[in-house]
């Protein structure tokens, strides 16, 4: 992939993607649970950003998900994970996620 492409937010964020914000228990297995769910159910995960919040008790995970026809099923399966405390559909912050992507692409 041409890295320079990532500097153009409009091209990396299409309307086919959805932005999800998860609140999860913060322990070493959580990222594996989320990524494993996407891998085994053949859901496309295009981006993931995770950081501890709430004095480290929980983490916040931003997911950029390929929203073809499976988004409802993606959300229902995420909700079932015991360590996932909340799932919010946050397409309202799509542009800011794009900015973050662009910023991360600039870090060498």
């Amino acid at each position: 992939m041409h890295r320079t492409d990532l500097h153009k937010p409009q091209e990396t964020t299409t309307v086919n993607t959805a932005i999800l914000r998860l609140t999860v228990n913060n322990h070493p297995g959580v990222m594996l649970q989320i990524c494993g769910l996407f891998a085994r159910r053949i859901f496309n995960l295009e981006g993931i950003f995770c950081t501890a919040i709430d004095q480290g008790e929980t983490s916040c995970i931003w997911l950029k998900v390929d929203e073809t026809d499976k988004l409802e099923q993606v959300i229902k399966q995420l909700v079932k994970l015991e360590d996932v405390l909340a799932v919010e559909l946050r397409n309202d912050v799509r542009e800011r996620i794009s900015e973050m992507e662009a910023m991360m692409a600039r870090i060498d």
Binding site: G29, Q73, K80, E82
Partner: protein, 560 residues
């Protein structure tokens, strides 16, 4: 204030949770747990011969009783061996708590002796899993694990406990209360009324019931719904027993090995009332040709199942017992003479059974004969293969939880240890394990466990010296290229059983096989009965994998 180590906390909590039997095998990494178990006066340990056997013994207890059952394994190979039983429980929604030993925390991640990433490997085949970091955490994890296993859609939960956590001593204020199974919130009454109207207005409805109805304890309500609405009913493999198989509204099992009239009736239905089912491919055939004319109502406690494979016209997220109970006052009393008459005609046009199917020595004859001899109280486990489908087609099931069978995962080797578990849970009831020579060899070592535990199980081995269903598919779909599907040596299962100290009978060459069968089933305690079956006996009709359910081949009505 209690002052105990992690292992003692686990055992004491199991006692408080009401667990009376644990199946397992000790090893290096769970020895502290076994040391604590040895001191328990209320928990009986059942020493399996392979961890997969331990997992299936626990499953046999859980499936027959509906209560969460517990199994133990050590780290490394102990854990990998038990994973198959957990995956099996996950796919059939069976409540288990599996507690594995793990290498000490200080060695985690170092490729230590008998270390595997049990947490990572079990993640995708458990409802939830834990790697315990300190003994104090056990006080919250243990009650939560039992709550998760038994609540909502049940399933297996694994707790991986490093050895140093088992020996770590903690002092704590008080014992946590065992968490009750969580109740499920009910749907709003409007949804129920909408669904009831759909049922009342349908001309050709069919009830499609699965294991979820049994988990919910909703068989009586399901039967009342069927009878009140005059609704013909199909069941999945996991749902057999919800309606007695001789009930006038029962169309038996649907799908790959359904009777022809059942799959044809589904083609004509205009409303499919699905409950506790997940539209598995073995039940639906090619999904986009399944019940093509039908609106769909789907009742399931797991929201992700609704609309997963088939879009629905109405969904009720909730417990089937509650949903049926709410529906019943709104469902009109109807006979539906026209629709039931049409189905009756299909059954006359395409009869399921023929007299020759019940000739002595043929599978249906043997299954019905065993059923007559062991009576309606009997619990039936099966392995996986032809014998399993014949039992599903012909055994006169009358109760939910009467049939214990590996549905979703289709695990050969399930039957014998599951039968042991059922016999431990219900020592006063007869237990029959129908197995095949292929399946039995996958956990044959558990014959030793059965003898040692003095359980009362009758193992009926349908012996065709082959992997019958594999061979059948090679016949039908691979131009009769029979490869690796039959055994070149004849194993003497009766001699093997005797070697384990079990009574055994061989119907092969018996002057009066029926008399010998009667004698075997009458004998107290466990026994094995070898029953020779012609290798050419097939399971018919059959829907080819990936085909529509109306494409049934193999029986005399097949067009091809």
């Amino acid at each position: 204030m209690p002052r105990l180590n992690g292992a003692q906390i686990i055992i004491h909590h199991l006692e408080r949770q009401g667990i009376r039997i644990v199946a397992g095998i000790p090893g290096g990494a769970n020895l502290p747990l076994y040391d604590a178990l040895a001191a328990s006066t209320s928990i009986r340990h059942v020493l399996a011969r392979h961890e997969q056997g331990a997992g299936f013994i626990a499953q046999g207890m859980a499936r027959s009783s509906g209560q969460t059952a517990v199994c133990f394994a050590t780290s490394g190979p102990g854990a990998t061996n038990i994973l198959t039983a957990l995956a099996d429980a996950y796919l059939d929604s069976v409540p288990l708590v599996c507690i594995t030993g793990q290498v000490p925390s200080s060695l985690l991640g170092t490729d230590a002796f008998q270390e595997v990433d049990t947490y990572g490997m079990s993640m995708s085949i458990t409802k939830h899993n834990y790697l315990v970091r300190c003994a104090a955490d056990l006080l919250t994890i243990l009650p939560k694990a039992f709550q998760l296993a038994g609540s909502g859609r049940p399933g297996p939960v694994l707790i991986d406990v490093p050895k140093d956590v088992q020996t770590e001593v903690v002092e704590f204020e008080s014992w946590p209360e065992p968490c009750p199974v969580q109740a499920h919130q009910t749907d709003p009454p409007e949804a129920i009324e909408t669904v009831a109207t759909m049922i009342n207005e349908a001309a050709r409805p069919i009830l499609y019931l699965g294991g979820g109805v049994i988990h919910a304890g909703a068989a009586a309500e399901a039967r009342q719904l069927a009878e009140q609405g005059g609704i013909p009913t199909v069941m999945t493999l996991m749902g057999l027993g919800i309606l007695p198989s001789d009930h006038p509204l029962s169309l038996g099992m649907l799908g790959m090995h359904a009777r022809r009239a059942t799959n044809l009736a589904m083609e004509e239905c205009d409303l499919l009332i699905a409950a506790g089912v997940r539209f598995d491919d073995r039940a639906t055939g090619r999904i986009n040709t399944f019940c093509p004319r039908a609106k769909v109502i789907h009742v399931d406690i797991d929201a992700s199942e609704i609309g997963k494979l088939r879009s629905v016209d109405a969904g009720i997220i909730g417990d089937a017992r509650q949903a049926f109970g709410d529906l019943l006052p709104h469902v009109r009393q109807r006979q539906r003479h026209e629709w039931n008459g049409r189905i009756h005609q299909l059954q006359l046009d395409y009869p399921r059974f023929h007299d020759q199917d019940f000739a002595p020595g043929r599978p249906f004859h043997l299954i019905r004969r065993v059923a007559e001899l062991v009576g309606p109280e009997a619990l039936i486990s099966t392995d996986v293969g032809k014998h399993q489908m014949w039992v599903a087609q012909a055994y006169p099931f009358i109760d939910p939880r009467q049939l214990l069978t590996s549905g979703g995962l289709g695990t050969m080797g399930f039957g014998l240890p599951a039968a042991i578990g059922a016999a431990l849970a219900f020592p006063e009831r007869p237990v029959v394990c129908f197995s095949g020579d292929g399946s039995l060899q996958m956990n044959i070592q558990e014959l030793a466990t059965a003898v040692e535990q003095q359980v009362n199980i009758k193992i009926v081995v349908f012996n065709n010296q082959s992997l019958g269903l594999v061979r059948q598919q090679q016949r039908l779909f691979y131009e009769q290229h029979y490869f690796a599907s039959s055994y070149r040596i004849a194993v003497d299962f009766a001699a093997i059983a005797r070697g384990f100290g079990m009574l055994a009978y061989d119907l092969a060459g018996a002057p009066d096989p029926d008399a010998l069968l009667q004698q075997a089933l009458r004998e107290p305690g466990s026994c094995l009965i070898n029953v020779p079956i012609d290798i050419e006996e097939e399971v018919y009709p059959m829907v080819p994998p990936g085909a529509a359910n109306t494409t049934m081949i193999g029986d005399e009505y097949a067009q091809n």
